[in-house]
Amino acid sequence: MPPTENTPTTASASSSPAIEFTDVEKSFGPTTVLKNLNFTVAPGERVTLIGPSGSGKTTILRLVMTLEELTDGYIFVDGQPLTFENRGGKRVELPKKRTREMTTRIGMVFQQFNLFPNMTVLENIIEAPVHVLGKSKAEASKEAKELLERVGLADKADAHPTRLSGGQQQRVAIARALAMSPEILLLDEVTSALDPELVGDVLGVLRDIAETTDITMLLVTHEMQFARDVSHRVMMFDGGQVLEEGPPDQIFNNPQHERTRSFLSSVL
């Protein structure tokens, strides 16, 4: 595996961050999970979130995908508000339709794949391009087949997801997310539910995407070698805060905090 260069390919000084968290707070009932969280991700940047269980990694990804409601603060995508905006000092929720327009730029792959079992592989992939982007079925199908080729499943277009192995299902889920040509891809422990021998294929596909596209990626993974290879930056979370961050070599080889050291020794 050739080492990936560790600078985002399309980051330019003038453009807005791909993702920006401003004073983000997230509570579940009485439990505050994230508080005063601020960070940005540059366009084309690939950032890995690491940290102990319960530190809020999944919550951050779900907030970006609008699967969780923001308790306070703002999230911006390409400089535009995602769910709430500040209108004359007042925090106002955006119309659902506007938020949905924003999320078309964002794709997510889940730990449990979440393919639609009532549709074939091809139907899963063309569903959103046809019904959200308004593409014709023919065009969407053609692109879907190219994507299936790319993830090594060209022969599975007409199969039902339940007939596929976990690794194959996850590659379909990746193809489904890519079919929307997202600017941002969120990956939450996408290999954690897989048998060990199936992990390699999925990581291979993700490496290919990392090397050949400039999609911004925010990922949570326990595959530290993979994180080291593909990410420009690693953020270590603890208790809903960024404990430390930096290039993978720095975080993995020379962590500054004792908690990072002990976390890494527990997963490596």
Binding site: G107, Q112, N114, F116, H160
Partner: protein, 218 residues
């Protein structure tokens, strides 16, 4: 004693009554299936007070006997001038349909609740609009869990159609009773009626069982 002559004579008369039984069941099922879905879905998005009103009506329909509902609507309708010409059979399948819709809505709701949260999350991640999410993803998956139970309600409805005698619809059992009344061949008439019911509902039940097993996996 069993009299074959009466039995042969009764059969076409009973079958004519059975046509009404079938019409009431089929149309009643269609009404119940559509209204049940509307009840299950619409209730989620409606203002609180309408929601509350619908729940009250559902509770009323479920907790009063079907016969009472049939009689109530039948006589209430005949009190409305200009509406006297609504055939009893039509009132019958509408009332039976509404009655069973309150049960079928519960099946739909259980089916919708059985769709895993991950399916809704994947739909959100793909930015699918709510209506498309419901029609293309939630409903098809919910129906797999719901259809066998709808089928069982349809069979139950079929067996409830004799209540239509209360509003003077000549369905199968009333036809048998009438035949018995004029010939005193009650045994032949009701035996045949029972056999016709059995011949229709038993294969249907088996079919539903098979469907249930087939729908259990994709």
């Amino acid at each position: 004693m069993w009299n074959w002559e009466f039995a042969v004579e009764a059969l076409p008369i009973l079958l004519r009554g059975f046509v009404n039984t079938l019409i009431a069941t089929v149309v009643g099922t269609v009404i119940a299936a559509i209204l049940g879905l509307i009840l299950a879905v619409a209730i989620r998005g409606l203002p609180r007070w309408i929601n509350w009103l619908v729940r009250l009506l559902v509770a009323f329909v479920r907790n009063t006997p079907l016969v009472v509902q049939l009689l109530f609507v039948y006589y209430a309708f005949s009190d409305i001038p200009g509406l006297v010409d609504v055939p009893a059979l039509v009132i019958g399948f509408i009332v039976i349909g509404i009655h069973y819709s309150t049960y079928m809505s519960e099946s739909y709701r259980a089916g919708i609740d059985s769709v895993p949260p991950g399916q809704f999350e994947a739909a959100t991640a793909l930015s699918l609009p709510p209506v498309r999410t419901f029609t293309a993803i939630v409903l098809p998956q919910a129906l797999r869990a719901t259809i066998p139970s709808l089928g069982n309600y349809a069979v139950a409805m079929f067996k409830d159609t004799p209540f239509l005698f209360a509003i003077s619809v000549v369905e199968l059992v009333t036809a048998a009773k009438n035949f018995g009344g004029s010939t005193f061949a009650y045994t032949e008439a009701f035996t045949l009626a029972g056999i016709i019911f059995l011949a229709a509902s038993y294969p249907t039940s088996l079919l539903i069982q098979r469907l249930d097993r087939r729908l259990a996996t994709y």
